[in-house]
């Protein structure tokens, strides 16, 4: 009797174990995707999620990457690197190496900018690839999404080539190709940028895809094309693109009041980035403004202050002054709100009409249209309370445009730095203003970690 019971128990247990093993081997280790993740396929099945992937790039640019107004963005870094900002900190902050023009290949800010920018380029390429094969998004919606992604790819590469010189142009998400990718020379890079922008122009709508001009439309692609053509000295094309924006008066209006240029609903704004939180304003204001001197990090360089003509309104309206009775310090005060204001008053502007006028003025000068150039330049000067430009010859005008760009676009996205390079005056200007200036400082070093991982990126930029 007892024996039989025993056998039964053994049999039972064996069955239970067998069952568990069966379950465990078959399906137990199959798991569902967690609700915090979405497969790439599903993201591009639907316009709303594809859009969420797209605008994430703008969010990152606003808060953290490359063109951000934060301390790690080029407005601050190139301001220190060129002759716009003076560094006052003592304890080895990020800006010190930039101000002293001793940025090394191992500098962490450099590799952060490089990696984060290529991460956004990856995200843009993923959108282009995902939306292209998507079956759930309608064809007309596809155009706008792909157009924006193409534009973004061109926009990010534009800054990289100007900062680093020869760089790779990444157009796929395939890491096998991208990990051994080779560098291209600026001429080739610009033609790829132009190609992407021309394609983007075809796909992007005339109207803004959303409120408040915080996502690019066709005019933004044109604005970048105007700038690229200016940088590559295709004066005719630069003027044509500029014309097309300036003539689009239904969208863009000249702002006569100097105090309204940087407000979020300024009609002269072509593209701006909205802060994440309602009521927040720009990181530019947080980074640049200080109330007591000496400045905690950087203040405006005296050479910039001295560049303003005596009656220039921008000297008072766009520059803040702090004094302790003995010394005076200055800060960029274009964006005035550094705290939360309940509802936001200012967004970070990436393209504004004034730059387009200055592009056209420069292009016209090179094309020999002196009066047209003067007209554009005077438009800028008049609002600043200045009289007509005295420049008449081509060299005089170019000189006047360079100076006007300095006082109009200061501490905005490294315009000054790129202008000094474009005009070929960088050595003569910075040699006298910066201790430790070397002519090879015109290019930032490629991040050392990058060269170690992909030898096709060799050689390092000269001087490093």
């Amino acid at each position: 009797m007892k024996n039989i019971a025993k056998r039964r128990i053994v049999f039972l247990i064996a069955t239970v174990i067998g069952l568990i093993m069966f379950i465990s081997c078959e399906s137990f280790v199959d798991i569902e995707i967690p609700n915090s993740q979405l497969t790439a396929e599903n993201v591009f099945k639907d316009r709303a999620t594809a859009q969420a992937a797209l605008v994430n790039n703008y969010m990152k640019m606003q808060s953290n990457v490359l063109v951000t107004g934060n301390f790690n963005g080029i407005s601050n870094l190139l301001g220190n690197y060129a002759d716009e900002l003076n560094y006052y900190g003592i304890d080895g902050q990020r800006e010190e190496a930039f101000y002293k023009n001793v940025v090394l290949p191992t500098n962490s800010t450099i590799s952060e900018i490089w990696n984060n920018t290529y991460n956004l380029i990856y995200a843009s390429n993923a959108i282009i690839e995902g939306v292209t094969v998507s079956t759930g998004i309608l064809p007309n919606e596809k155009g706008q999404l792909i157009g924006e992604a193409l534009f973004l790819r061109a926009y990010l590469h534009f800054y990289l080539v100007n900062l680093f010189g020869n760089i790779p142009y990444v157009t796929t998400t395939d890491f096998r190709l991208n990990s051994t990718i080779v560098k291209k020379a600026p001429a080739e890079l610009y033609s790829l940028i132009i190609e992407d922008l021309e394609n983007a122009k075809l796909l992007m709508p005339d109207e803004y895809p959303s409120d408040e001009r915080v996502r690019p439309n066709k005019s933004v692609a044109k604005a970048l094309l105007a700038r690229v053509n200016l940088y590559t000295e295709n004066w005719g094309a630069a003027e044509a693109e500029a014309n097309s924006i300036i003539n689009n008066t239904s969208l863009y209006e000249w702002v006569d009041d100097i105090d309204k240029v940087f407000l979020k609903d300024s009609p002269g704004t072509i593209w701006q980035l909205i802060p994440q939180f309602s009521g927040n304003n720009t990181f530019e204001a947080q980074s640049f403004i200080f109330l007591t001197g000496p400045p905690p990090v950087s203040g405006l360089n005296n050479s910039l202050i001295e560049s303003f003509e005596p009656e220039d309104l921008r000297r008072d309206h766009w520059v803040g002054t702090v004094s302790d009775g003995l010394d005076r310090w200055y800060f960029a005060n274009k964006y005035k709100e550094n705290n939360n204001t309940g509802s936001s008053r200012e967004y970070s502007i990436l393209f504004r009409l004034e730059e387009i006028y200055l592009i056209r003025a420069e292009a016209r000068t090179h094309l020999g249209n002196i009066s047209g150039a003067q007209e554009d330049l005077n438009k800028i000067r008049h609002r600043a309370g200045l009289s007509d430009t005295p420049a008449v010859t081509q060299p005089e005008l170019l000189q006047a445009i360079l100076k006007e760009r300095q006082v109009e676009l200061f501490t905005e996205l490294g315009h000054r730095w790129f202008d000094l390079k474009r005009f070929g005056v960088i050595n003569e200007v910075l040699q006298t203003r910066k201790t430790g200036w070397n002519s090879t400082d015109v290019l930032w070093p490629l991040p050392q970690s990058e060269l170690l991982l992909n030898q096709n990126l060799l050689p390092q930029n000269p001087g490093y």
Binding site: S24, L38, G279
Partner: protein, 1012 residues
């Protein structure tokens, strides 16, 4: 909210428990009749006293042979048991020879037990799924017990093992309470630095040591590996820790065994009268070592020279330290000011245990509290409850046990470690506070380090680990049992970043103040049914085991960033924030299943063969790669039991030759890595929450495998008074699962993949245990462990063309650093010079970083001495490590820069000089700055001897004579940890080798332990 009250509840419960036990002590001492055996009704009572020849021996088990009746001797060595005249009493006690006495007509049986050195070989070792007699084990298992653990005033279980186990290298990464330790068992197997954690099992329940914290919140105070979940395990609740090292021991854990297995066994209820114990200590702690930095005069002379060298006569407006803005006569020792404080420690634990033949229990409660060495009012606290119940049915067939550990941790500290600022602030930097007692910003000329105290970090962890085993003996040789386990960890951490941490010059108000919180949890359960069978035959004894595992672990986390407060006093209330952003809201599921088995064959107690195997499935791999098999074979030969030895070499009391070979694996790669997914980026744009690609994905990666070979010799001489173990191992890891580093142009830093590379770890482990003196009043024993571990990259196809080309060299260790070779200072220019290996006139990283430096320790170990004289007991442990380490030269401070520097930097270059530090620069000398940052920091000059000998632990205790306290035993003790360090290291502490992380602390405590 629910969790908060739960943690509060547990704390209140623990306090009242401790209080209760303390109060009870008075009544119990007054009434010493708590002897459980009096409850039993038996024919006649036998009493007596048990001694060890010196004094009374408490805790001896007295059993009536053939019956299930037992008793335990009390603290006077006295016992009481009921037995018939025909019965035989068996007196047994660990470490002593068992004695049997027939009662006849005696009523009083006094016994003297003799110490039995070889008894150590009889100890049952926990091997996880089974236990094995020390003498018969075929695998490599290291062990420490509560005896060692209780001598150390530490909070992390890993700290208790430091220096005590061969082949186990543990380093403390920070002295901040709640911070982590790194452990490597027999070297680095995986190229992936985070893939080398062992498997932790607490009473049969797998315990995840994954850091649940959010690096954004904890990163600046608790650096990687972050918050250590092992802090939730109370060391004083641990009875023993076993570390399984070789294939024979770990293969049964299959895919989780590659990096070794740490088995934690908690204290169990003991048979005998109800016993109470209270143990409490308090003490102080300070950092072990700091840098020897310049004073103001030395510093200013360096700075003045630096500007002179750069050709700058008029000091820049921002050079506040030298241009007269700051008082040049001021001196502050910032290390003393910021990390030089004294941390206070106190701990109390109380326990009740007892039980009869069928049921035993233990309940323990403990509370620990430690302040920090930083300024400000910060503290780390831990409260834990532990219990265990065992029951066996009257017929010995059915048994059940249940254990639980619950702990509530509260880490209330500052948000940022001050160590870096302490070592870099100029010695004449301004005062911390102004006349009004407010933070002094000295007109924006400096960043007051105490601003960092405004930002606070708070972490609350609640952890429950519960395990149960239910067993049934189907037949005398056949047992079925099921192990059930459940763990639940909940972490609630937060960090405040109020506007007051910023310089008031920015004019920022509380509308930019920000509050970060992260709530994360992890729950896991496992079920392991097992069937074991053993039988002895003429040809030997066979023991078998078969079982299955299913395990599931789910985790979730929610991170929030609230910002924009109307007042900084509302900062910890997210509801008062203008904006709340979800940083992360993730959840994950891990499932794991396996079947496993063991066959053990032994012949004549001399020859042993052990075969183990496991088939594993893991949800971390793509559908085609889910399953893998692992197995091992081990054998042992107890040659000292051969007649030849016993007859001719009787000095050899024990001798064993053992060996094993087998495979284990690893699936430590995180969940869902094979899927191509998007996650929420946490940020939003125009109200649309952004989605971003989670990773570069690879659907095809599979198991990492680790093949282990071991040979060992164990030898006991002179009745085991000298005991030597020598082991040699060779582990080969292949099919390495790694995040292959990728250039930034791919958009991501790495991709998960199997690398066709083989890594070999070989080593020798040597353990020596000697009993130097064994007299009645004086005993002295010594134990030494010594490990030599070598690591080597054996094969790596196409290394030169891979992204690892600049990182690894075939034939060299994984932790090799390819660096420039520093050749001294240029006697003319005063700038550091390096070898140009390819003679092309420039230094390029790929071609000229040819010097190989390995930071793998050459050897490490510990030497422990244990002395007792009458009632005094002294133990001290020296830990030693021979290694190269990352020294101050890589700290990122250029000689001459506006940061304080070690006095050794005073030896700066003079024309013609080639040693010392290069010419000072204030940062304007490109060539000098570049030589420092680009080359010197990446040269062999940044590595130097980081070997050390450290008095890791000292414990002195005195047990009050029995005559003083009749009923209770009372022990007074002094304990110390990290008491002193002998090292030539050029830096702060040679153990954590860091300039920004707090060095480990030197702890000194005194305490009292009462048992009654």
């Amino acid at each position: 909210m629910k969790n908060y009250s739960l943690s509060k509840g547990i704390r209140a419960m623990a306090y009242s428990f401790i209080l209760g036990v303390s109060l009870l002590s008075s009544s119990i001492s007054a009434n010493n009749i708590l002897d459980y055996s009096t409850v039993q009704q038996q024919p006649s009572k036998i009493t007596g006293t048990i001694t060890d020849g010196v004094g009374p021996l408490p805790g001896v088990t007295i059993a009536v042979k053939g019956k299930s009746l037992t008793a335990i001797s009390d603290y006077n060595g006295e016992y009481l048991i009921a037995a018939n005249p025909s019965d035989v009493l068996v007196f047994s006690f660990m470490g002593f020879k068992t004695v049997e006495i027939r009662i006849s007509l005696q009523k009083i049986v006094n016994v003297e037990l003799k110490e039995d050195a070889t008894a150590l070989q009889e100890v049952k070792i926990n091997a996880g799924y089974y236990s094995v007699k020390e003498s018969e084990r075929t695998g490599s298992i290291a062990r420490i017990t509560a005896d060692d653990i209780e001598k150390q005033p530490v909070t992390n279980v890993l700290a208790t093992m430091q220096g005590r186990m061969a082949g186990v290298n543990i380093t403390q990464t920070t002295g901040v309470p709640g911070g982590g330790f790194e452990i490597q068992i027999r070297g680095q197997n995986s190229i992936r630095t985070d893939g080398n954690a062992p498997l932790y099992i607490i009473d049969g329940v797998p315990y995840s040591t994954q850091n649940l914290g959010n690096d954004i919140i904890s990163g600046s105070i608790l650096p990687a590996p972050g918050i250590s979940p092992l802090n939730s395990i109370n060391p004083s609740d641990i009875e023993s820790i076993e570390i399984l090292k070789d294939a024979d021991a770990t293969s049964i854990y299959g895919s989780r065994g590659a990096n070794g297995v740490v088995l934690l066994t908690t204290k169990k209820g003991k048979l005998g009268k109800t016993a109470f114990s209270i143990n409490t200590y308090s003490g102080t702690a300070k950092v072990t070592r700091t840098l020897d930095l310049m004073n103001t005069a030395q510093y200013l002379s360096m700075r003045e020279k630096a500007f002179a060298n750069d050709g700058i006569i008029q000091y820049p407006s921002w050079a506040y330290d030298v241009n007269g803005t700051w008082d040049k006569n001021r001196y502050t020792d910032w290390q003393k000011e910021l990390i030089g404080g004294t941390a206070y420690t106190r701990s109390i634990d109380a326990a009740i245990s007892g039980g009869n033949n069928t049921t035993q229990f233990i309940i323990r409660a403990s509370n620990f509290n430690q302040t920090t060495v930083f300024p400000g009012d910060f503290a780390y606290g831990k409260t834990a409850l532990h219990f265990n119940i065992n029951h066996i049915s009257d017929n010995d067939k059915f048994n059940v046990s249940l254990s639980g550990n619950y702990s509530a941790d509260k880490n209330n500290i500052l948000g940022t470690d001050l160590t870096l600022e302490a070592s870099q602030l100029a010695p004449n930097a301004p005062a911390l506070y102004d006349d009004k007692g407010e933070l002094n910003w000295e007109n924006s000329t400096w960043k007051n380090p105490l601003r960092l105290l405004e930002s606070k970090y708070l972490a609350k962890t609640n952890t429950l680990v519960a395990g149960s085993t239910i067993g049934y003996n189907i037949a005398p040789s056949l047992e079925f049992k099921t192990t059930l386990g459940y763990t639940n960890t909940h972490l609630d951490e937060s960090k405040t970043v109020p506007s007051t941490i910023y310089n008031p010059a920015y004019g920022l108000d509380s509308s930019i103040s920000s509050f970060y919180t992260n709530k994360s949890g992890q729950q896991s359960w496992n079920v392991e049914p097992q069937l074991s069978w053993h039988e002895s035959f003429g040809f030997g004894t066979i023991k078998t085991l078969a079982g299955a595992t299913i395990q599931e672990s789910a985790s979730e986390s929610l991170g929030l960033n609230a910002s924009g407060f109307s007042s900084n006093s509302l900062i910890t209330n997210s509801a008062a924030a203008a904006n709340v952003q979800v940083l992360n809201n993730t959840n994950g599921l891990y499932r794991y299943s396996a079947i496993f088995g063991r066959i053990n064959y032994s012949l004549n107690d001399k020859y042993f063969l052990n075969i183990t195997g496991r088939r594993d499935g893991s949800s971390r791999f793509g559908p085609d790669n889910r399953f893998a098999n692992f197995g091992a074979v081990g054998a042992a030969w107890l040659f000292a039991r051969e007649n030849l030895i016993t007859e001719k070499y009787s000095c050899i009391s024990f001798g064993k030759l053992r060996g094993s070979y087998g495979s284990t694996g690893s699936d430590q790669i995180g969940d869902y890595q094979f899927m191509n997914t998007y996650i929420s980026s946490g940020g939003s744009y125009q109200g649309i929450v952004g989605l971003e690609p989670a990773r570069l994905y690879n659907p095809d990666f599979s198991w990492e495998t680790n093949k282990k070979l071991e040979m060992a010799l164990e030898l006991g001489l002179l009745k085991d008074r000298i005991f030597i173990t020598t082991a040699h191992y060779r582990n080969k890891s292949s099919n390495q699962l790694v995040g292959i580093p990728l250039p930034g142009t791919t958009g991501f830093p790495s991709i998960q993949s199997n690398l066709n590379a083989t890594v070999e770890n070989t080593g020798w482990e040597f353990e020596l245990r000697t009993v130097n003196f064994q007299k009645k009043e004086f005993r002295w024993s010594t134990s030494l462990n010594f490990s030599v571990a070598k690591n080597k990259l054996l094969a790596f196809p196409n290394l030169a063309g891979s992204t690892y080309a600049s990182q690894y060299v075939i034939g060299e260790p994984l932790d090799i650093h390819l660096v420039y070779h520093f050749t001294g200072i240029n006697p003319e220019t005063g700038i550091y010079q390096f070898e140009d290996y390819n003679d092309d006139g420039t230094l390029t990283p790929l071609e000229d970083r040819q010097r190989k430096v390995s930071t793998n320790p050459d050897y490490f170990g510990g030497l422990n001495n244990s002395l007792s004289y009458k009632n005094w007991q002294l133990d001290f442990l020296f830990q030693f490590v021979k290694q190269l380490g990352f020294n101050y030269n890589g700290s990122g401070v250029v000689p001459g820069a506006g940061n304080n520097q070690p006095v050794s930097n005073l030896n700066s270059w003079q024309p013609g000089q080639t040693n010392g530090v290069q010419l000072y620069t204030a940062g304007f000398n490109d060539e000098a700055v570049n030589a420092y940052y680009s080359y010197y920091s990446y040269s062999d000059a940044a590595f130097s001897d980081a070997s050390f000998i450290r008095l890791k632990n000292l414990s002195l205790s005195y047990t009050l004579p029995q005559s003083w306290l009749n009923v209770a035993s009372c022990r007074l003790y002094l304990q110390g940890q990290n008491l002193f360090t002998i090292t030539r290291f050029n830096g702060a502490d040679p153990e954590n080798q860091s300039f920004g992380k707090l060095p480990p602390l030197r702890v000194m405590t005194m305490g009292i332990q009462l048992n009654f």
